[in-house]
Amino acid sequence: MIEGQQIPIVVTVNGVMHQLAVSSNETLAQMLRDTLGLTGTKESCGKGECGACTVLLNGVAVNSCLVLAAEVDGCEVLTIEGLSKDGSLDPLQQAFIREGAIQCGFCTPGMIMAAKALLLKNPRPTRQEVAEALVGNICRCTGYESILRAVMSCVEESSNNTQEHGRECWNEDH
């Protein structure tokens, strides 16, 4: 893996700054998994169609299989590992568990990150808006109903509980 051109980058991942030398042919997905050991991000299709590799790059959802590691110099990345704080799960993660929205679990990190990206921009989406935000995330197990319920349950939660709403903004504590 470590061959060819090496590019020095500085990247903040889940609030932690890293100075790395990445290969020119290394994707962000590979860097997260193989260099940083953050294997929560999954790779499935490798061509930006399934969304399993979704992470937040400077606050927006991207397919990390189509981003070169070299491109994220100076950027901030949030992965599924960055959602849980001090061992306690993000409301989205709790909702997925509660609603049975996890079967094999392979799509789950990407699905949650895509949902997280939506809720960061729009804390009260409609069900249709949630479905549209998750268009880029494929699930072969659940049929999506439990996933949509899980995300919508977070929308209702945040409108009932303003303290929870504060936790939606991951930027605050990093």
């Binding site: 061959e3 042919n25 491109e71 895509a114 935000a133 268009v135």
Partner: protein
């Protein structure tokens, strides 16, 4: 897996960009979002020696601005940013509608219309809308800048009029007349998919009509004869049928994994009819976008 010999180059200004493009020649590919080129490299469909990242070039650091009698959209402006810009939505609603059908949120957060244009897929969704707005492409090279009307810029599937050591700086859209419009995309699923056939329609307040068809010919195109027949005659059922027939006759689709050529031919009429009807009903709602 991306070949390990691939070089990554990050020019910070145009001079460095042109130097890199000269160094690597045709095997050096510029990129911004990378959502097309990286897929092609990974599947072995692109022979690329170096990827030249446009995103840090100082002269390209703008989203869009007014220029001449219209606007220019930077080659670095993401599709998401275009969809979310209230002024672009108000001025170019058909483009915003079309761009919103591309891929997924993740793809649109990285992709750009310059990339969509330069990839020149026959099914590219921004192209029919850009043709409706009579867009042009601003190309820069060491010798300076030239502006090429989009219809001339698109040469064939995957082929543009870009010469060696040239790059698209921006896409120019002239200020349109008061209008309403619609972009209708037929795909196999109501989600992330390439267009099987697409159609765009613009109803102008002077009674003229502009039409565009995508994914039904080697390039997206405007069926000019069809436009002439329907001009000022949107109420006339006969004129509409004649218009749709002419547009269908102008289409030259292929059969591929998404559909047969016969199906595409038939759907050109269906999609154009839908696009025209939508554009008309939006016009009826006050020549206004919101519906």
């Amino acid at each position: 897996m991306i070949p390990p010999g691939l070089r990554y180059v990050r020019p910070l200004c145009l001079d460095e960009l042109f130097a890199a493009m000269k160094e690597y020649g045709p095997k050096g590919k510029v990129f911004a979002g990378g959502t097309d080129i990286l897929v092609q490299i990974k599947s072995g469909r692109a022979d690329v020696r170096a990827l030249i990242d446009l995103k840090r070039i100082k002269e390209l650091q703008f989203t869009w601005r007014f220029e001449g009698d219209g606007v220019v959209i930077s080659s670095l402006m993401t599709l998401t940013a275009i969809c979310q810009d209230p002024q672009l939505r108000a001025m170019y609603p058909i483009l915003v509608e079309a761009v919103g059908t591309i891929g997924s949120v993740q793809v649109r957060n990285r992709g750009t219309i310059a990339g969509n244009v330069c990839n020149a897929s026959p099914a590219a969704d921004s192209l029919p809308a850009l043709l409706l707005y009579e867009a042009a492409v601003n190309v820069i090279g060491e010798k300076g800048r030239r502006t090429i009307p989009l219809e001339q810029f698109l040469v064939g599937p995957g082929q543009t009029a870009l010469r060696e050591c040239e790059v698209v700086e921006s896409v120019f859209l002239p200020s349109p007349p008061k209008h309403s419009g619609a972009y209708c995309k037929l795909s196999r699923r109501r989600g992330f998919d390439l267009s099987t056939v697409s159609a765009g329609a613009m109803v102008v307040n002077d009674g003229t009509v502009r039409l565009a068809v995508g994914a039904a010919a080697p390039r997206a195109f405007r069926p000019r004869e069809a436009e002439q027949v329907i001009a000022g005659k949107l109420e006339c059922a006969e004129a509409l049928e004649k218009c749709l027939e002419l547009a269908q006759a102008a289409a030259a689709p292929i059969s591929d994994i998404r559909a047969s050529r016969e199906y595409r031919k038939a759907m050109v009429k269906v999609l154009l009819r839908r696009a025209i009807q939508k554009a008309v009903s939006r016009f009826g709602a006050g020549g206004n976008w919101s519906d």
